[in-house]
Symmetry: C2
Subunit: 349 residues, 2 copies
């Protein structure tokens, strides 16, 4: 099939941006940077870790002796609540110097009391609690902020400053650029087709199977047709839900399972703790409409390309032109399909 | 001034995307990854380097004994010329699975025969030749391709696979996502104001001076109001020119000077070879109009934040929401303004 072998571009319908695909380039020699792998054995509890139970953080607060998850305000958050009464436009010239105030809250979510665990190493009930914590924090913050972004940076090469398993929530009143792009694109699709873009997409990928990595009753994991990162995946609801607050118990359970399978497969691709940034896209909150054009979904953006130490660099051409990939989405999907659902650390013993 | 101290967002008028600015976050502690600095002393000529004069590359070709620059076809290019007669749309479903053929050419431009030199270490006549080589390659490729992207990845952390000083040119028939966004935005501005966005922007920054890093008769270097990367700069023509083929000798000379000053200042910020991706945005070629809404410009995207080893990670929130910075554009500009124009290696001796 011509599509898989010759150079082509694919369009991301959620953002409107393209990706250049060069499958013939898989075999070029690699002389560039490799990354140090930090597979040092971590202790279960680290006295100096600001996320471990019982420890005191820089601001003097102590963490409780938590059993599953623990949430606290980020002491160095990028967003802080607005002190003034109204949001001001700071623009000095309306078309070249455009600025607006931004206010919000940043929180840290510890996924486990154990310093040396990662998501795929958590038991099902612990993962269920992680999802419930995401849901609870989303639901609370969505009462005050239109945009609540739940995400995880995993691994030093993703700028993660703490090995203790954790994610973040940044909530704010404005729509961030990516959410606004996805909102616009999904709405246009909905107006044209009378159905939600991601609902239709789920059906087509389910039928085709080529790019599907995992599915259960409520969730689909797929390497999207338009994936930019080598092993990028989309984790998307099969149900008619738009945000975390709508999750019922069965959907929460099924999501815990999907997370376990996907993150285990990732670790098994190169037998290492697979770095990524992942995050959830909920429909904007508080708009007073039912947001039928949206479907709740997460993106996983993992940078590794060839091994535990060689990553894809989104630099030069990618920053100035558009994303580029060598490995096709279909090849990446077949590698993830073949990866075991038993974590390599369990089989290694 | 409120704008500089409290959290706010600024809009990039060239792309329409926003950046979140959190100046209060400058002083958060850093426990994350640092990068290895490769300041090992390189030889002037390396027998195993595929870019050094006289050496043989993997495909059997030998490099000539070049004096200034040398250009060759990238042996592992992401784009290859189209063999078929016409461009096919590969779409299988017009709104979810959108794909197009892509054809083009990728070239490597060696900036100097000396393996251990970087742009700020080249003499003026050598930099003049680099600019002339960019111009000549642009002019030739623009006859066949609408989009000719000239860029440089510098440093291992920018995925640069060869220390030998070099850049690349990727030329193709389609407009890449970034060029298309800038074209749309500049055209809308032109229709509204009757003047070019970047011409107006140059005037305002020249008058204000706060963010200006360097200027000469033909070029302005500014930390743009909407900069995303810590020390991002925009290098933009002061003249009414849209692409490289229009450069006269005086503009070429002045550009060589601006490049020398900017890259020297960069190296002097942390006394290291400052990594970056930089690249040129020319107006699309061959459209038969005069492209008055465009101005030729280059973006420099350097990742370093606090030292030669600590970079800004555009991860998590940035990938899923929008770019975020701590240091304000004005602070970055003042650091670059204060940086010496004499390279640290010259003063160190
Ligand atoms: O061609 P190089 O220098 O080997 O490769 C580098 O630049 C390319 C263009 O920006 C990127 O696609 C690669 O990811 C990067 O490693
Ligand atoms: O908050 P952390 O984990 O220290 O910081 C990390 O995640 C943030 C949100 O994606 C980024 O802004 C930082 O660049 C990154 O290092």
């Amino acid at each position: 099939m011509a599509l898989l072998e010759s150079t082509h571009r694919r369009k991301n319908p959620l953002t409107g941006r393209w990706v250049l695909v060069s499958p013939h380039r898989n075999n070029r020699p690699w002389l560039g940077a490799t990354e140090a792998v930090n597979e040092s054995v971590l202790p279960k509890h680290d006295e100096s870790c600001p996320l471990c139970p019982g420890n005191t953080r820089a601001n003097g607060d102590s963490n409780p002796d938590y059993k599953y998850t623990h949430v606290f305000k980020n002491d160095f958050g990028a967003l802080t609540p607005n002190e003034s009464e109204q949001t001001q436009s700071l623009a000095s010239d309306s078309d070249l110097f455009i600025a607006d105030e931004a206010s919000g809250e940043c929180r840290v979510i510890c996924f486990s009391p154990e310093h040396n665990k990662t998501l795929p190493e958590l038991e099902h009930d612990a993962l269920h609690e992680v999802v419930k914590t995401w849901k609870d924090n989303y639901t609370e913050l969505a009462q005050h902020y239109e945009c609540v972004q739940v995400f995880e940076n995993k691994g030093e090469i993703m700028g993660c400053s703490q090995p203790h398993p954790h994610g973040q929530v940044w909530a704010h009143s404005h729509l961030s650029t990516e959410i606004e792009a996805e909102d616009t694109q999904q709405l246009a699709y909905y107006k044209k087709h009378g159905s939600a873009m991601l609902a239709d997409y789920v059906q087509k990928e389910q039928a085709d199977k080529t790019r599907v990595v995992f599915e259960n009753e409520h969730w689909l994991v797929v390497v999207p047709f338009w994936a930019a990162w080598p092993f990028e995946t989309l984790l998307v609801t099969k149900d008619n839900i738009q945000n975390f607050s709508q999750l019922n118990d069965a959907q929460t359970d099924a999501l815990a399972q999907a997370l376990k399978v996907l993150t285990t497969k990732y670790d098994n691709v190169f037998n290492c703790s697979f770095p990524y940034s992942m995050g959830w896209h909920n429909a904007p909150a508080n708009r007073g409409s039912d947001e039928q054009h949206w479907r709740l979904h997460a993106h996983f953006y993992p940078p590794l390309l060839r091994s535990a130490t060689v990553k894809k660099h989104m630099v030069g051409y990618e920053m100035l032109g558009e994303s580029q990939r060598d490995l096709s989405a279909e090849t990446a999907a077949s590698i993830l399909q073949a990866a075991s659902t038993t974590h390599y650390k369990k089989t290694a013993g």
